[in-house]
């Protein structure tokens, strides 16, 4: 269940970014802050990788070599259907 909540949270955050990718580090810190849980780096990496495997997001790299998360078209459609932001 929490995985589903994390998925929605990540999609919400990426929708907020309005087409700009977000550093994975910021997303992970956001998840920790929002869910008040002591997730390990490995757990958070695996949540993000799962989202990438399901084609909701892509994981790329920026000029500094940091992981960047971006929303795919499928992710955007899912977000619109699942989240329905107020």
């Amino acid at each position: 269940m929490i995985e589903q909540d994390i998925k929605k949270f990540v999609l919400r955050r990426l929708i907020q970014k309005n087409g700009e990718p977000e550093p994975a580090g910021i997303i992970k810190l956001g998840i920790r802050s929002a869910f008040n849980a002591a997730f390990t780096e490995g757990e958070l990496d695996s949540y993000l990788q799962q989202l990438a495997d399901d084609n909701f997001v892509t994981i790329g790299r920026d000029d500094f070599g940091a992981s960047m998360i971006d929303l795919t078209a499928k992710g955007r459609n899912t977000a619109a259907r699942l989240i329905k932001l107020a």
């Binding site: 909540d5 949270f9 919400r12 550093p23 910021i26 810190l29 989240i83 107020a86």
Partner: protein
């Protein structure tokens, strides 16, 4: 028959609570008998501060406004109801903090751009600061990291100013060298004129008829160049 306009719930008037309800329901309609549906604006504020108070959920429960209407009127909301609301409040609060972070980052980038600081350095510092700020927030810490980061930017600005000053110094040195070159050329010209005047005088001394008006004119012309 007249229909009275439906009075909207207090949460619908507040963008924060609208987002909380959207997280809770996934964008669906909130049930009419839901706890949040009958809370006033003040009670929603009370609920928000109760959920951010330190302690366990049952500690927070005691600070929450009582339920309104229905069979449970006047009772405190159960922990099973407060738990998802608390989670949704935390999610929305974090999303808002991230949004605020975006605004701060954009403003910082703008300012650094105005100061002419290397955009790559700015991006790196802005990101590190954002990550640290969020980490501190997640861990409920307050640190002086932002001050250190600001110092890094100031140092960068300082080195940029120093580099500019060096550039100006080099430019000044170059123009001084050009002036020196011109002085040398002028002095060489004067020396040549002196030599020519001396030669004309020496030639006049050895001439039979002595110094002629032509020789005088020539000497006068060379002397003017000195």
């Amino acid at each position: 028959m007249k229909t009275s306009p439906t009075k909207s719930a207090a949460w619908e008037e507040d963008s924060f609570w609208r987002e909380v309800v959207a997280v809770l329901t996934g964008g669906k309609k909130l049930r009419g008998e839901h706890y949040l549906q009958n809370l006033s604006g003040e009670e929603l504020e009370q609920l928000r501060s109760a959920l951010s108070a330190p302690g366990t959920l049952s500690d927070q429960q005691k600070l929450c406004p009582a339920r309104r209407g229905g069979k449970t009127d006047g009772e405190l909301p159960p922990a099973s109801l407060l738990s998802p609301i608390s989670q949704a409040v935390r999610e929305v609060t974090t999303l808002r903090a991230l949004q605020r972070q975006d605004i701060i980052s954009a403003a910082t980038k703008d300012r650094c751009g105005q100061l002419g600081i290397d955009p790559q350095l700015t991006n790196a510092v802005v990101r590190v600061v954002a990550e640290e700020a969020l980490r501190q927030q997640a861990e409920n810490q307050v640190g002086n990291f932002a001050i250190s980061a600001a110092n890094v930017l100031l140092l960068a600005e300082g080195s940029r100013t120093k580099a500019k000053q060096e550039e100006v110094k080099i430019q000044l040195r170059k123009s001084k060298l050009t002036q020196d070159d011109r002085k040398i050329v002028l002095m060489e010209k004067k020396a040549a004129a002196y030599d020519r005047a001396q030669a004309a005088l020496a030639a006049a001394k050895t001439q039979k008829g002595g110094i002629t008006p032509e020789t005088l004119t020539q000497i006068e012309r060379e002397l003017k160049l000195l």
